[in-house]
Every structure is written in C-alpha cells, then in structure tokens.
C-alpha cells in the first residue's frame, strides 16, 4: 500500500513540472513586453530593453522556462507582479488557503447534499423522491454557476436582506458563496450517484443478498451502496476540477479574497506573473487532490488494494 502511495507521490513531480510547462508555454504564445508593462508607456525604449535584459526576459523561451522553474522550485520565487511590483508569492500565498478551503468545503457540501439524494432517488425510483430531485438537478445542469450565485444574491441579499452580499468577515458571509459553489456539483453528484446506484442494484450479488434473506435495508446500504460508491469517489475527484473553476467565479461574484478573484482582477492589467503563478498553484493543488482521491479509491476497492498488498509481500 505504501508502495502505491509512494509511486503516486513520485508521479506527482513530472505532473507538476508538465503542468508548469504547459501553463508557462501557453502564456508565452504571444511575446510579451514585461519591461514596458512594468515601467509604463512613457519610459524610454533603452530603459525598457535594459530592464528586460536585467530580468532575463529577452532570453529564448526554453532558457526562460528553465530559469522560471529554478526560481519557482528552488527559491519559491514566482517573480514580481507587473501591477503592484510586489513579489508574486507574497500576493498569492495568503489567498491560497482561502481558495483551497472554499473548494474543499464546497466539495464536502456538494457531497453531503448530492449523494444521499442520489441514493434515495435510486432506491425510490419513479416516486416523488426520484422525480423531483431529478428534474431540479436537470435544470441546475443548464444553469451556469455564476447565475446560481446571482440568483442567490438577488433573493437573499437584495430582496430578503438576510445575508451580506460581499466580503468574508463573518460566518454569515460564507453561506451564499458556499451554496453557490456547492449547488451545481451537488446536482451532478446526485445524478451520478443515482445512476451508479441503479446500476449496482441490478447486479447479481444484490439478488444473492436478497436470497440470503437479508432485509431490504441491509441489501441497499451494505451490498449495493458500497459498490456504487466506487465510481462516485472518482467522480467526486473530477468534480473538484469544476469546483476550482467554480471557486474562481464565486470569488469574483462575491468579492472574496481568493486566488481566483486575484487572477481575474489582474487580467485587464496583463499581470502575467500573478496569472501564471496563481494558475500553477491551483493546478498543483488540483493534482494533489486527485492523488488523494486515487489513494482513497485504492483503500476502498479491495481489487486495487489487494494488488498492491501482494506486491509489498513479494
């Protein structure tokens, strides 16, 4: 088992490097002019060139990338923001925890809402418990996350005046962003859990359990559910990607201090170092979460677990 985890951890290194490369390469498709961006439109061309040269911005692409990676992984240096002239790391880091917390809490909430509804809908197929949540989740699948957030804002902040519309200073501030973040993936989780559960209920081993004389409760919760949860866990991992995307939107919509809103706010200013740094950090976070999901999966599926236990024994 440890071997499996270790293997996955080692695999994380090329993944992070590859992701860094992709993002860095994409951002360098068009040649930027960082010196000009930093010094402003009025600076002398000679000064701009000198500045670019000093920071190594006039080097060939691969050279630049190697320098960037060295600075990034050896010194934790993401460069200097064109906009604030502050080290990027100092700007991103305090917001990082906030974004990750938001995404993880959103994932948790979406699971807590979506999975039980999905199970129940499958068990009570064709009843109101199935049709009503299914129709609602179908509708939500057609609503962009930011529209869900805007509707919540309009109803709870403007019309009812129950909740504050922006900021993150108290727990009450978190209610709407959390809901806006969790509702779309919750609908997705519900749909997915339902179909996985329906699939599982139809399996032969569920009939075997009934033939043993197990009460319906045991048949559903012990035999069907445990098998149905395997694909749901994978799906949850994938939803996290959507949750990070959702976090960007929700942070922007509710003016929350996360990396997503930072990236979006700096787009009009062409603040490349912040955008690259923020994107890399969020991607790394996503990769780590996927790894955790894989390990969890290996723990709950004996078929995968056994493979690695055996390997350890040899």
């Amino acid at each position: 088992m440890y071997k499996y985890i270790l293997k996955r951890l080692l695999f994380l290194i090329p993944t992070i490097l590859g992701v860094t490369f992709i993002i860095y390469a994409v951002m360098n498709i068009t040649p930027g002019d960082p010196g000009r961006a930093i010094l402003g439109a009025n600076a002398m061309q000679a000064d701009v060139d000198a500045y670019n040269h000093m920071l190594g911005y006039d080097l060939p692409f691969l050279q630049k990338f190697v320098n960037y990676v060295q600075d990034l992984f050896l010194k934790g240096d993401f460069g200097i923001s064109y906009f604030t002239k502050q080290p990027v790391f100092a700007e991103i880091w305090p917001r990082y925890g906030f974004s990750v917390r938001l995404a993880l809490m959103g994932a948790l909430l979406s699971a807590v809402i979506g999975i039980p509804l999905g199970i129940y809908a499958a068990v009570k197929q064709y009843s109101l418990w199935d049709t009503v949540p299914s129709v609602i989740s179908f509708l939500i699948a057609a609503i962009p996350g930011f529209v869900v957030g805007m509707l919540l804002l309009y109803i709870f902040a403007l019309k009812l005046n129950w909740l504050p519309s922006y900021g993150a200073s108290s727990l009450r501030h978190y209610i709407m962003p959390m809901l806006a973040l969790a509702i779309p993936p919750a609908a997705q989780n519900m749909r997915f859990t339902k179909s996985s559960m329906l699939e599982s209920i139809r399996q032969d081993y569920v009939r075997t359990a009934r033939a043993k004389g197990a009460p319906e409760r045991t048949v559903i919760w012990k035999h069907a559910l445990k098998n149905a949860m395997l694909p749901v866990v994978t799906q949850m991992g994938l939803t996290l990607g959507a949750l990070i995307a959702g976090a960007v939107v929700v942070e922007k919509l509710f003016s929350l201090p996360g990396i997503g809103s930072l990236i979006v706010d700096r787009i009009p200013f062409k603040d490349e170092p912040v955008i690259i740094g923020g994107t890399i950090l969020l991607s790394v976070c996503f990769a780590v979460i996927m790894l955790v999901v894989d390990v969890i999966y290996a723990f709950i599926d004996p078929r995968i677990k056994a493979k690695y236990v055996k390997m350890k024994g040899k």
């Binding site: 399996q203 032969d204 081993y205 009939r207 075997t208 359990a209 009934r210 033939a211 043993k212 004389g213 197990a214 009460p215 045991t218 012990k222 035999h223 445990k226 098998n227 395997l230 709950i300 599926d301 004996p302 078929r303 056994a306």
Partner: protein, 340 residues
C-alpha cells in the same frame, strides 16, 4: 424442524400448483411460466430441464419470491412449502425462509458474489441473519466448518472474491447456500459457467453434501448428463410448461416420450451408438410474448397433426410418468388424467 424424520421419504416438501408468472413491460407481456405443477419430495433431487428461456429460472425465483420487482408478476397458483403457501405469507416470513430453509445457488459465480466484501463476511452474514443470537466465535467456527465442507481452506476466508477461480467462487456460493442447512436447495445451472473438469467436481460435492445434510434439491439445468448423474426425478419444461415429468428411470428408460424430450436426447451424442449425425431440434423456441394457440411445441414438432395447432394438449400419466402431448392423449384416452 422436521429434518430428522428421514423415514418419511415420500413426504412432499415443496408443492407448486398451477403457477402462472408473467413479465410485464411497456411493450409486451411475456408469459414465462404457464400453469405448472411440480412436487419435490423430501431428500430427493428434482431436475428441471429445458432450453434457455423455457421459464426454469423464473420458476426458481418465484419460489423465493425474488422476481424482478417492476416487471415480474405471479398471476395465480400456489407454492406450498412445509404447509405454508409462500405466495400468501408476508415478506418477513419469506425473509426468514430465504437462505435458511430455502436457499439458492445462482448460475454465474463471477457476478453473484459481492466484490467488496470478503468471502468470510459474505458467508457469516447468512448465519448472523438467521441465527442472530449465536455468539461471534461460534459464527466464525460455523463459517470455517462450512468452508471445509465445500473444500476451501478456512484460512482463505479473509480473501475477496476476485482472488478465487470460477470453480472456487461457486464453492463459496454453495457454502453460503448450505451454511444454514436448508431443507431445500435450489441450484440454477450451478455448473454452466464452469469448466467441464470443475463441473464434475462441483456436482460430486453437491451430491455428497445433499446426502450428508438430507437436503432436497431443485436442480435446474439444460444438460441431460447432469440430470442422469444427480437427479431422482425429472421435469422437462418447454415454453413455460411442464411437458413431461417422471422419475429418472421414466425419462431415461421408458419408450414413450414427448417429441421435445426425444429431440433433447437426439441432440446429445451417445458414445455407444454409431450414429452418423446429431439431430438438433429444428427452429427456435416459441416467443413467450406470443405463444401459439395449441401445443407450444407444434411449430417445431416432426409429428405435428392438425389437432396440435388447435387444441392445448392435456396431461396423460402412467404411474409416475406424465406427458403432455396429443400423441399419447388420444391413444390412451381411458388412462387417468393428470392434475388439471
């Protein structure tokens, strides 16, 4: 409860009367089982023979009341087990019966075990369900002894199904079925999914267990070889009907047969006869959603007469041997009629 009274060998343990089962879907109604009668005697094995789709599995699932909830419907008849009509008792009664007094071995061992539970957990679950007061240690001992009984070392009980071969998995399924010493064991093509060599092993083991535990058995199969090897009585099923029934001797030694049974025998090779060719039964089984009016076998029957396509044949009986065919009904009219 009365398992020790082995002297009453002729006692009927399961009596199916006039059972009618349909599958209802949006598009059509499939008449899977049409008014069948079956008796299983205590300590004896009844072989239920027929090709795929004849309604064998449906009959078995009806006994346990495990037909697919949305579509499978029992539309009449009765199933008496130890004096109670299983179609009338409540669900709790059935649950206490399943896995305990009546248990079932399914066709495909690959899919009938839960992949995420160890085999020990799956066997002990049956015991804990039916003997909830048994201390944990004794449950485990019982699991161990049952595993030994089916020829699996008890040390493997912490392993998961995927770690076993097909034959071993079927042994696990059988262990689950016999660990509460059922009065009736239903085996639904227990060896179809297995290799021939493994088949023989599993069948020998089942016969052995049956004698040791005094269990009655319903052996569902399409293989006449298995019938000859393991059964005491035989019922041949075609398109949801029992078309011929009797003891193994009746079926294998008597001269008179339903043309379908004759066809079944001719489609297996006989090493003692130097026949040039096997004679498979021509055509396909009647569509159970659209059964013919007269005898269901008439369209494939080589001896089909006019009456066969018009009138449903009645049961003719000579002692234990019963036939449902116009060939015999007309010539032996004075013979006693079978149960209607």
């Amino acid at each position: 409860m009365s398992r020790n009274e082995t002297d009453k060998t002729k006692e009927t343990i399961l009596e199916i009367k006039d059972l009618k089962v349909i599958y209802q879907t949006d598009a059509e109604v499939i008449e899977a089982v049409n008014h069948i009668d079956l008796n299983i005697l205590r300590g004896r094995t009844l072989g239920l023979v027929g090709e795929t789709g004849a309604g064998k599995t449906t009959t078995a699932l009806s006994i346990l009341r495990l037909l697919p909830e949305m579509t499978g419907k029992i539309r009449g008849g009765s199933i008496f087990f130890e004096g109670h009509n299983l179609l009338e008792v409540d669900e709790n009664w059935m649950r206490a019966l399943r896995g305990n007094a009546i248990s079932m071995v399914f066709q495909d061992p690959m899919s009938s075990l839960n992949p995420v539970l160890t085999i020990g957990e799956q066997i002990s679950e049956v015991i804990r369900l039916h003997e909830p007061d048994l201390p944990r240690r004794e449950v485990e001992e019982k699991v161990d002894s049952t595993l030994n009984l089916v020829g699996i070392p008890a040390s493997r009980k912490a392993e998961y199904p995927h770690q076993f071969s097909g034959g071993m998995k079927q042994r696990v399924v059988i262990a689950m079925a016999i660990c509460c010493e059922p009065a009736l064991l239903i085996a639904d093509e227990p060896t179809t999914a297995l290799d021939v060599t493994i088949q023989a092993q599993v069948l020998a083991m089942m016969s052995d267990l049956k004698h040791r535990l005094g269990t009655s058995m319903l052996m569902i199969t399409h293989d006449l070889g298995i019938v000859a090897q393991t059964c005491d009585d035989v019922a041949v099923m075609y398109a949801g009907e029992i078309i011929e029934a009797g003891t193994v001797e009746d079926i294998f030694l008597n001269e008179q047969h339903h043309p379908y049974t004759t066809g079944l025998f001719q489609s297996i090779p006989d090493i003692n006869k130097k026949s040039d060719r096997l004679k498979p039964i021509p055509g396909l089984m009647a569509d159970p959603a659209n059964l013919p009016k007269g005898c269901a076998f008439a369209p494939r029957c080589g001896q089909c007469r006019e009456i066969c396509t018009k009138e449903h044949p009645v049961l003719t009986a000579w002692g234990t041997h019963q036939l449902r065919c116009h060939l015999f009904a007309s010539s032996e009219k004075e013979q006693e009629r079978g149960a209607e």
